[in-house]
């Protein structure tokens, strides 16, 4: 307690940020891959700033044609270089290198780099030494960063020195990072990291790439994934548009691909399966892709949990705003701020579209061959060409005219693969392999040697290396098949299927 007239300093708790917080902590919340995407986002904003009419709501189909960036990955060095206008020196001085965005900083209309953290965080994540070079129409500069010495420095001077450079070459920015962090070096050297990065860029920058923006990864020019929904024969995808508190929202949903046959968790993976789910796109940048989680209401609010049965569903919701702050993304741009009211309102509509599909996949179980025939005769339409439609329509279920029974059993996958190979197509689903065991072309149901002989001699495929039969577990018939096929190598395998080894 203070007594008399003594002046007492008030107690305070030190809340000054440490530099290591930015170097060690912020970098933990983002993957290396997403850091690289953050840097690509900066290139895209630069391109929009540079192009004529770049602040417009809609850009022409080839708006980005003159702009590109290239990413170089190796064990010793990371580089990203673009021709997207460079950073004006006054922006560099005041804003570009600040941690967090200054509210006074000019905002990029319809931009994708919004939190003022991407470039710094990427540098810290990747390595210890970085050089940012920028060339604009009027000047050029370099900012060199030595992360450890900067982080060790005491005092409140957080600045990075800017060195002016001689102006030359196309306006653009180049970030070069060396002295890579150990784990990062291993990743950047790996061929599969590069392949995955290319795959993710194809998917998540699809809109930009389709509008002509060029992204090279180690000299490979990335091609965009094109999203399509199927239409016809009772299938009509939804395309709902509305404006919500200054944000243009558009929701697409429909059948992206013909559903796979196998609905079990062990089902053979397919590209369609990997692509199914919801996509959320903010200002043309994909934030979440092929989502099958609660974030897009799977397993929540009356929607069933994701199940392979729902493969084939594709939903895309796009949010577009001249003020990127209004969009529901997190700082990593890899997740949705699910507390966003804007997003919640979109979810209500998304939920109904999802339920249309889940109900349809339940009904189609009644007669899968008939459903498949209809699904396969639909045609794929790119998102941009889909007409506006408030609902997602699916064919009405037909009344079954046959009584069907479900048969389900398990076999080691290696054996199923062997039968698949014997049947002549690696594309066959487990269901089709199973069906072949009961198909009309097998020896199933034959009870006389005569039938077997006839079948064996008439079946051209029998002469190929491997072929499957089902002679009713009857060794006598197996012997007959051996005799008539002229091979002793026919043997009984699982469930009465005979195979030539």
């Amino acid at each position: 307690m203070a007594t008399g007239g003594e002046k007492v300093e008030p107690l305070v708790a030190n809340a000054t940020p440490t530099r290591w917080f930015f170097v060690d902590m912020l970098t933990r919340d983002i993957s290396l891959q997403d850091c690289i995407l953050d840097l690509i986002d900066n290139c895209l904003d630069g391109a929009r700033r540079s192009m004529e009419g770049g602040t417009a709501k809609t850009l022409p189909a080839d708006a980005y044609e003159d702009y590109s960036c290239s990413v170089t990955l190796s064990r010793t060095r990371f580089e990203i270089k673009d021709n997207c206008g460079g950073i004006p020196i006054d922006i560099a001085e005041k804003y570009a290198f600040r941690f967090g965005r200054d509210p006074r900083a000019p905002k990029d209309k319809y931009g994708v780099g919004i939190y003022g953290i991407g470039m710094k965080r990427a540098i810290f994540k990747i390595g210890n030494t970085a050089a940012v070079h920028s060339v604009t129409d009027v000047d050029a500069f370099k900012v060199a960063v030595d992360v450890t010495s900067w982080a060790e420095e005491k005092g409140l001077n957080w600045n990075f020195p800017i060195e002016r450079e001689r102006k030359g070459g196309e306006p653009g920015t180049k970030i070069e990072i060396t002295d890579l962090n150990d784990v990062v070096a291993k990743e950047l050297e790996a061929a599969d990291f590069e392949i995955k990065l290319i795959r993710i860029i194809s998917r998540d920058y699809s809109v930009f790439l389709q509008k002509g923006f060029g992204i090279h990864v180690n000299r490979t020019l990335v091609k965009p994934d094109v999203f399509e929904l199927r239409s016809g024969k009772g299938f009509e995808p939804a395309r709902i548009r509305y404006r919500d508190e200054g944000v243009d929202v558009e929701i697409f949903a429909g059948m992206g691909s013909v559903p796979a046959d196998d609905e079990t968790p062990e089902a053979r993976p397919s590209r369609d399966m990997a692509l199914s789910g919801w996509y959320v796109i903010c200002n043309d940048r994909t934030v979440i892709a092929a989502d099958k989680s609660e974030t897009t209401l799977w397993g929540y609010a009356g929607v069933a949990e994701w199940h392979p049965q729902y493969n084939g569903f594709l939903g895309v919701v796009t949010f577009r705003s001249s003020d990127p702050d209004k969009l529901p993304w997190t700082t990593t741009k890899r997740d949705i701020d699910v507390t966003s009211e804007l997003y919640k309102r979109a979810l209500r509509k998304m939920r109904e579209l999802t339920k249309t599909w889940t109900a349809y996949t339940n009904r189609r179980k009644g007669d899968i061959p008939a459903a498949k025939a209809i699904e396969k005769s639909t045609i794929a339409i790119p998102l941009a060409k889909i007409p506006e439609r408030q609902t997602f329509s699916v064919p009405k279920a037909k009344k079954l005219t046959r009584t069907l029974a479900n048969i389900s059993y398990q076999q080691p996958s290696a054996k199923v693969d062997k039968v698949r190979e014997a049947l002549g197509s690696a594309q066959l689903s487990n269901r089709e392999v199973g069906e072949s065991a009961l198909s009309n072309t097998s020896i199933s149901g034959m009870s006389h040697e005569r039938d077997v002989r006839q079948f064996v001699s008439s079946n051209q495929l029998f002469s190929s290396a491997q072929q499957s039969y089902r002679p009713k577990n009857d060794f006598r018939l197996l012997e007959a098949a051996r005799f008539h096929s002229g091979t002793e190598q026919l043997s009984l395998c699982w469930h009465g299927i005979a195979m030539v080894r």
Binding site: P269, G424, A426
Partner: protein
């Protein structure tokens, strides 16, 4: 040979096929050879690969996309540092084309092959394939690239502080093309030691061209051997003069390159 030349005392052979297992057991020439019955995927985890440095060669006759790919993770996750692992797979382009479309294998496109491989193996498959990647010569090279990526990727994902030093990378063809990739799993220090003197550059296990050794009879082999080693290039006429019949220059060169490694089998009546 592994026992006699390298003095390896524990030899394990894995056979899935019932008959193959019985025959391998019957034919095992040494007591120190154990034959395990089952699929590699099931047997490998039971072998305590983490206890001893091993040489593990998974010599599959199937493609890379099947159990070979699944086994790669098992190998790099479990083998003790200092082990050498090799994977051999069938890399015949026609095999995969037939698998994709048995009725029209010739019409299968590079994209279809990519799709098929990527579905089974994911991001170890390059994002774009062109005709040269999937023709008879290109496909084994593509598979070798994929195997190498798969080995390195699995090792990285295992979180082990080991590196993969590639020691084997070649295609062998005396029937269908067989692709082999392998190397040493070891810590950075050991890898640095192995590579320090630069002699690794002369290591013969990494071969760009396909190894095609001509099938020869014992007498033909002896005729060849009497002309070798030779500082001058062994040409068609020299061989023909010795043997009385011609072989192509390609066959001759192939034999000259690998004559010291050419397997010799003899039939004996006991």
């Amino acid at each position: 040979m592994a026992h006699r030349t390298l003095a390896i005392k524990t030899l394990i052979s894995i056979e899935a096929d019932d008959v193959g297992y019985a025959r391998a057991t019957f034919n095992a020439p040494l007591k120190c050879i154990t034959v395990e019955h089952g699929y590699t995927t099931d047997v490998l985890p039971t072998l305590n690969l983490d206890r001893h440095k091993s040489i593990v060669w998974l010599d599959h006759d199937t493609g890379a996309e099947d159990s070979a790919f699944r086994d790669i993770s098992l190998l790099v996750e479990n083998c003790k540092g200092g082990s050498v692992v090799l994977v051999t797979v069938n890399a015949e382009a026609k095999r995969v084309q037939k698998l994709i479309d048995a009725s029209a294998p010739d019409k299968v496109t590079p994209d279809q092959i990519r799709e098929y491989l990527a579905t089974k193996m994911g991001d170890v498959v390059p994002t774009t394939l062109v005709e040269e990647d999937v023709d008879d010569d290109g496909y084994p090279k593509l598979i070798r690239r994929i195997l190498e990526t798969a080995l390195k990727s699995a090792l990285r994902l295992s979180g082990r502080r080991l590196e993969f030093l590639k020691l084997y990378d070649f295609t062998y063809r005396d029937g269908p093309a067989m692709a082999t990739v392998g190397g040493l799993l070891a810590d950075a220090k050991t890898v640095a030691k192995v590579t320090a003197d630069g002699s690794i550059a002369n290591w013969p296990g990494i071969i760009a061209e396909t190894i095609r050794t001509p099938p020869l009879t014992m007498r033909e082999k002896m005729a060849f051997d009497q002309l070798l080693p030779s500082s001058a290039k062994l040409v068609e006429s020299t061989f023909e003069a010795r043997a009385g019949f011609p072989l192509t220059q390609e066959q001759i060169s192939a034999y000259v390159d690998y004559y010291s490694l050419y397997p010799t089998f003899a039939e004996l009546q006991l």
